[in-house]
């Protein structure tokens, strides 16, 4: 819900994948280490959710309890444990975030690179990208999600399908720089086909930008999923952080039970912040001008 973190101007003119030594340098930055730690904890929480807490179902007798030793994050108006809801919600957020971002990266990279190398494609791709970027994305996703029966997979498809334009724009602008480099001319002179040049010569040069895009797109996808779930368009069979907020909204407990909204909100904030910071630091790190080549 904010400005793109990466602008085309922010890209280094010459791309370079981080060398092995800079990987450890990357992880040794305190902010990066902390972000990676948060991401790891979230992943473990999602994978081992059944071991951490029972899946919240049905109603319990302890209604609207504030946080205590028995219920760390308190309980909601049905007596369900909010901690369990947050733990199980991590699954939905992470699965949708990652899967949607992979869809967006594959689509965006394909379209961006094809546009960068094949001139006729560029005109069409640019128009389509511009149109997609000009539209209000959330209302667009709402409209589609309202028609299909919402499930984790339909949401993933919808979110992934509308996240590619920003990736395509980033990859295209980087691809244009590389297409103009002498070694691409060299490959052409040697008789390489367009397909070979795009996949073997240009693609490797944008891989590190793709890694950054995965993290940043995934964080946007998590926010989108939470937004759709909050509006009642989430998977009714899967817990999600947006759904916990929706339950508080529907039952009118927002103003009374602060714990029901605070903890899922913190989960969203932590996950997205960690992914964004890790992505941005990775982007800084791959800039050869700052690393001295």
């Amino acid at each position: 819900m904010s400005a793109p973190v990466l602008t085309e101007q922010a890209l280094p003119p010459v791309p370079a994948a981080p060398k092995r030594s800079s990987w450890s340098g990357y992880l040794r930055q305190p902010i990066v280490a902390l972000s990676v730690l948060v991401l790891l904890v979230m992943v473990l929480m999602a994978v081992f959710a059944p071991l951490i807490a029972d899946e919240p179902t049905g109603a319990g007798p302890e209604v609207l309890q504030s946080p205590s030793g028995a219920h760390w994050f308190g309980t909601d108006d049905l007596g369900q444990d909010v901690f369990a809801q947050v733990v199980w919600g991590a699954r939905t957020s992470l699965v949708i975030g990652l899967a949607a971002s992979l869809i967006a990266i594959v689509l965006g990279t394909t379209i961006g690179l094809t546009a960068a190398y094949f001139r006729p494609v560029d005109a069409v791709a640019t128009v389509v990208t511009d149109v997609m970027l000009a539209l209000p994305t959330l209302p667009l996703m709402i409209m589609l999600a309202a028609v299909v029966s919402p499930s984790v997979w339909t949401l993933t498809l919808i979110i992934g399908f509308f996240a590619w334009p920003e990736v395509a724009r980033l990859i295209r602008s980087q691809g244009l720089v590389i297409s103009a480099m002498p070694y691409i001319d060299g490959a052409r002179v040697l008789g390489a086909t367009g397909w070979r040049i795009v996949t073997r010569e240009i693609l490797p040069a944008v891989v590190s930008l793709m890694i950054v895009s995965v993290l940043l797109t995934a964080s946007r996808a998590v926010i989108s999923e939470a937004g759709l779930s909050f509006l009642g368009l989430g998977d009714p069979d899967a817990w999600s952080w947006g759904r916990i907020l929706l339950n508080a909204q529907r039952s009118g407990t927002i103003a009374i039970a602060w714990w029901q909204t605070l903890f899922p909100s913190l989960a969203i904030l932590l996950l997205v912040l960690a992914a964004t910071l890790a992505g941005m630091r990775f982007n800084d790190n791959r800039d050869p001008r700052r690393n001295g080549g």
Partner: protein, 317 residues
């Protein structure tokens, strides 16, 4: 100039047309199409066929598309499934509230973002600059409903300074009504501004730093102009233009944020309407709301581009 305005308006129309066309066909390709949503399960096949005929859904796809476009151009967005009322009327009833909310958030973001961005750029590396960078990056992780709920709980429920929902107290008249309107607007607008402000001020800061390194700023310095005049007169004028374009591009997320904020504060705009329509599966209202919001955003964006051309003396049209 006239040519530029016309071509920019044409581009906006084209964008809206592509959006409407692609969503029209996409929606009919998806598994759960609107006809099955509308037709209740316990109807006889004859009744279903009759209902489909009434809405023209039995005709070939391209015929449906042509008549859909014809109706759209005349401002007809169909009839709501739940309220027997034209969708256009329902949405036009709500749209002013969303425009008021988003407009106030827009103006406030720019009004507060400019001084913060410029001050941070001038005092690079100082505390304000550092705070702005941290805030700008973490704003990316702010989830609008979370911010809205936090404000509602703290300033609305706990402190009781502001109302926790609605847009106006219906019992007020005259000046009191305007005050009540503003009073109800504070928290929803603040939720949007908090999310938008950081990235906006950060962009302005980056532009400003670039501009302050330009030759004409040094020339101004050599001519003996005061620092204040250099920064606020010569610098800002050049840094603000790219920031204007950015703000135009951000209108889509601003509207998306408004949908979520309105839901939290039960604010009677299009966003709250969408939330209600989702709950009632009122499909034509959801589609109509998207089209109206898309048209609003695309044309507002075109307007900022035109404004850019008017303000930028380097573009001679």
């Amino acid at each position: 100039m006239v040519r530029f305005v016309l071509s920019r308006a044409l581009k906006a129309v084209l964008t809206v047309w592509i959006a409407i066309t692609s969503t029209f066909f996409l929606l009919r390709l998806l598994p759960g199409d609107p006809t099955t949503l509308m037709v209740e399960g316990d109807m006889t096949p004859e009744m279903q066929a009759a209902l489909l005929k009434t809405y023209g859904l039995d005709r070939p796809l391209w015929e449906q598309y042509v008549s859909y476009l014809r109706e759209l151009i005349q401002g007809n967005l169909g009839i709501s499934f739940r309220q027997i009322q034209p969708v256009t009327d329902i949405i036009l009833d709500r749209l002013p509230w969303t425009l008021l909310l988003a407009g106030c958030a827009f103006v406030l973001t720019v009004a507060v973002g400019i001084p913060i961005g410029v001050t941070a750029a001038v005092n690079r590396g100082k505390w304000l600059d550092r705070a702005l960078q941290g805030f700008g990056i973490s704003a990316n992780a702010l989830f609008v409903p979370s911010v809205a709920i936090l404000l509602l709980v703290f300033f609305g429920a706990q402190l009781g300074w502001f109302p926790i929902g609605g847009a106006i107290d219906p019992d007020t008249r005259g000046t009191a009504a305007y005050l009540s309107l503003a009073h109800h607007l504070v928290l929803p607008v603040l939720s949007l501004v908090l999310v938008q402000l950081g990235p906006y001020a950060l962009t302005l800061r980056t532009n400003m730093i670039e501009v302050l390194g330009e030759d004409y700023i040094r020339a101004a310095q050599a001519r003996g102009l005061s620092a204040r005049r250099r920064v606020w007169k010569h610098g800002l004028r050049n840094a603000i233009l790219p920031a204007l374009t950015l703000m135009g591009l951000q209108l889509g997320t601003l509207v998306g944020g408004a949908v979520l904020t309105e839901t939290v504060f039960a604010y009677p705009g299009v966003g709250r309407l969408i939330y209600e329509a989702v709950g009632q599966q009122d499909y034509p209202v959801i589609q109509g709301a998207f089209i109206m919001l898309a048209v609003t955003v695309v044309f507002a964006n075109a307007l900022t581009d035109m404004l850019y051309a008017v303000l930028n003396p380097r573009i001679r049209l």
